[in-house]
């Protein structure tokens, strides 16, 4: 906002007036009237007692107490006044305006005013006819908040139970108690077992009043180190509506680096032959092994069949995605292994190795998020040579001979198959 010069001056003056008005360096009259002999005027915890009124002498004597403690006394002539220090920087002045006999009891007419004090803070300002003994004072409630933990030395991932209780000591009740427990860094809130309603209307004081349970909750440590738990704070008022604040202790927790669990899956891929002829088959064995301490989830191995080789088939549990075999395991427990076999056919002469990509995830038991892992593997080299029977293609006579041989082999295989099939 941009202000023009004149406007700025006006605003400045206005602000000064406002300040003057509110800090009440101005004097405010709080009472202008009669007080009978023996009566008192109470201003918060202060008592002005008119002890004797002497109409003949036109004087009155007074005592001033803070609660029960006398802080001043004296005798005033008409139009005379006295001052005493009030709460904070305030000052109270009483002026004797006149004295009167003739009633049952003589009385004094006074004007009581206060300066340098926020009038809104006055919670009692009245004549108490029954005198000093009839005055009631607001006390200072002192709310003691205790934050306690069931363990103070733990490991990352462990859970502690935090209990917060409160009780009022001091000499007044605590009203409208509102607790705040700040979010705790280095920990995560696992579960809240108990939580007091937003504000407690009243907590009584005294030894016989049981503690008030404020919170019970569990925190899970996520980091190693020594940490002080944050203090629970409370705001409340005394019976006079004055606002107070307390905070709890801050228990210290030592969190040591526990064992985070890991899953460690490796893939071991072997081939039964390191050298094959073209058009021959190779059996490859894959062993997925979890050498870690946590179960691995969503374990997936994508086997990249090299150009020049062809996937023929494999164990159930191997699916093919776009011509490439894939092994998927929902979980692989620690110390477990799973073996799969599949068969490749060599189509082209060359040297190959079979690459594979492994991915899985696991929970380390501490962090909320699963940890994802990716690894790549390569098998040993496979050398594909000119096929044993490639020469056949060049000479048809061989084809006839080999057809006969094949038929004989076929028959033999069939016979053996029959013999061993159960």
């Amino acid at each position: 906002m941009k202000l023009k010069g004149t406007h700025r001056t006006v605003l400045f003056a206005f602000l000064i007036l406002l300040t003057l008005g509110s800090t009440a360096s101005a004097r405010t009259t709080v009472y202008d009237g009669d007080i009978e002999e023996g009566e008192v005027y109470q201003l918060n915890n202060y008592i002005i007692e008119i002890t004797d009124v002497f109409p003949e002498a036109s004087t009155a004597s007074y005592y001033v107490y803070e609660r029960d403690k006398e802080i001043a006394n004296g005798l005033l002539d008409i139009n005379e006044s006295f001052e005493f220090d009030f709460e904070d920087d305030g000052e109270v002045q009483m002026r004797l305006k006149s004295v009167h006999g003739g009633g049952v009891l003589p009385r004094a007419t006074v004007e009581i005013s206060i300066s340098n004090y926020n009038i809104g803070d006055l919670y009692v300002s009245e004549v108490i006819e029954s005198g000093h003994s009839g005055a009631t004072f607001a006390g200072d409630p002192k709310l003691v908040i205790v934050k306690s933990v069931d363990k103070s030395e733990i490991e990352v991932g462990d859970v502690i139970t935090v209990t917060v209780t409160a009780r009022t000591t001091g000499n007044d009740v605590a009203n409208k108690v509102l607790f705040t427990d700040p979010k705790q860094e280095h920990f995560i809130l696992k579960e809240t077992t108990y939580e007091v309603s937003t504000s407690i209307p009243k907590i009584d004081y005294g030894q016989s009043v049981p503690e008030t349970l404020v919170y019970i909750y569990n925190l899970k440590a996520t980091e190693a180190g020594t940490f002080d738990l944050r203090a629970v704070t409370a705001t409340y008022t005394n019976s006079a509506g004055q606002t107070y604040q307390s905070s709890s202790n801050t228990p210290s927790i030592t969190v040591s680096e526990g064992n985070k669990q890991i899953a460690n899956v490796d893939s071991l891929m072997n081939v039964d032959l390191s050298s094959v002829g073209r058009n021959e088959k190779i059996t490859s064995t894959v062993i997925l092994k979890n050498t870690g301490s946590a179960p691995a989830q969503a374990v997936r191995l994508d086997i990249m069949v090299p150009e020049g080789m062809e996937y023929v088939g494999g164990d159930e549990g191997i699916e093919t995605i776009g011509g490439n075999p894939r092994i998927y395991l929902e979980t692989l427990q620690p110390n477990n292994d799973k073996e799969f076999r599949y068969i490749l056919k060599a189509k082209e002469v060359g040297t190959y190795s079979i690459n594979s990509e492994l991915s899985y995830e696991y929970s380390n038991g501490v962090d909320a998020q699963n940890i994802k892992q990716n690894k790549e593997f390569a098998s040993s080299r496979i050398n594909v040579k000119e096929g044993k029977f490639d020469f056949l293609i060049k000479n048809p006579l061989y084809i006839i001979i080999s057809a006969i041989i094949l038929a004989v082999i076929g028959f033999q295989v069939y016979r053996r198959h029959r013999e061993y099939r159960y």
Partner: protein
């Protein structure tokens, strides 16, 4: 040429049998899955194999054993790990089983492979041996696999009772292999099983092969029987195959060391008779070395038979067969098993008396639901 019958009962027995058949095809551990199409078992002797099981899936799993050698003994719900059910099923199917054996002709020796702790194998084996003993007079040896100790109380009790039953069945000897002892082969449970099965298969084949070979110092079926006769009817096998040049002395020691044995035993304390078969190229087979090493053993053990098979170009391989006078490890297993039996009994009683559930229900006695 010897006629040898090898029977595998139950899942464990079946698997070891299949491993033997795979080894016999050549190629050992790494034998190709498809070998059965082009190769065949090459046993030195005439060997017949037979697998019995109530679980058809276990039989289906076998890959190197001919279909006609896999015999399914049907029982509606399998036998679980309940040996009583297993025994009953055997009795009901006895004729079917014995007919299979009868059809294979006569033999010089038979081996029966089984786990001690399952349901089928552990209950079939003693009854089968007893029945075979009634009908045939060839010696029968059982290869018995002990469970992992953590497999639970039922398996432990089964193991305890089945070993006793096998001893009482008239079997001529029990060769022990212990899953627990061999488990450090590692990997998944399946790998561990396969590894253990291969170890057993390799040793048995080596033994069969040796019994039917020309040996330099005599060791034949007769000696084998004598060794197996010694001790408490329990035996185990040690083995070592060198994969590089090595003095035969070291190879013998290795075969008797923990990593060579199938069952935890201190050879020098618990063995009562032994047979050491040494195979390899002539240049490794120094008679002096062999004699001193064997004397060391016989000093502690008793009689030690030795046999030497010359195989040109091969590194030394040693098989040691040991009968045991005592088996501390087995005693320990029985100790645990007895506790297991008491535990199971108490549990059963509690359940019968309904104690546990009574407690649960009594909590709401006299209460009404509140809505």
């Amino acid at each position: 040429m010897l006629n040898i019958l090898v029977i595998g009962n139950g899942q464990c027995g079946n698997r070891i049998l299949d491993s033997i058949n795979r080894y016999a095809m050549g190629g050992g551990k790494s034998c190709n899955k498809l070998a059965k199409f082009y190769s065949k078992q090459r046993f030195k002797s005439h060997v017949e194999t037979l697998a019995f099981n109530t679980a058809v899936n276990d039989l289906k799993e076998m890959k190197f054993t001919k279909a006609k050698d896999r015999v399914h003994i049907p029982h509606l719900h399998g036998v679980g790990a309940n040996r009583n059910v297993g025994k009953q099923v055997f009795e009901e199917s006895k004729e079917q089983i014995m007919r299979q054996i009868e059809e294979r002709g006569n033999f010089d020796i038979a081996f029966v492979l089984t786990s001690a702790s399952g349901g089928t194998g552990s209950s079939f084996t003693p009854l089968l041996v007893k029945e075979m003993k009634k009908r045939y007079d060839y010696p029968i040896y059982c290869v018995v696999v002990l469970p992992f100790r953590e497999e639970g109380t039922l398996y432990l009790q089964n193991a305890a009772f089945s070993i006793r039953d096998i001893r009482q069945s008239g079997a001529d000897g029990i060769i022990l292999a212990d899953n627990q002892y061999l488990k450090n082969i590692g990997g998944s449970i399946q790998d561990a099983y396969n590894g253990i099965n291969d170890m057993i298969a390799e040793r048995l084949l080596f033994l069969l092969d040796a019994l039917d070979s020309e040996m330099m110092m005599v060791t034949d079926l007769g000696d084998f029987k004598t060794v197996m006769n010694g001790g408490a009817g329990l035996a185990t096998i040690g083995f070592f195959r060198a994969d590089k040049e090595m003095p035969v002395k070291t190879a013998i020691q290795n075969s008797l060391s923990p990593s060579g044995l199938l069952f935890s035993t201190n050879v020098y304390e618990e063995a009562s008779r032994a047979m050491i078969i040494i195979k390899g190229d002539r240049k490794y087979l120094s008679i002096d070395d062999i004699s001193t090493e064997i004397e060391k053993l016989s000093g502690a053990v008793g009689h030690v038979f030795k046999g030497i098979v010359v195989c040109n170009g091969e590194y030394p391989q040693i098989l040691s067969l040991l009968t045991l006078e005592s088996a501390h490890e087995l005693e320990k297993l029985y100790h645990v098993a007895v506790q297991a039996i008491h535990y199971e009994k108490a549990k059963k009683q509690r359940v019968e008396e309904g104690v546990e559930m009574e407690k649960t229900f009594s909590q709401i006695e006299g209460l009404e639901p509140e809505y």
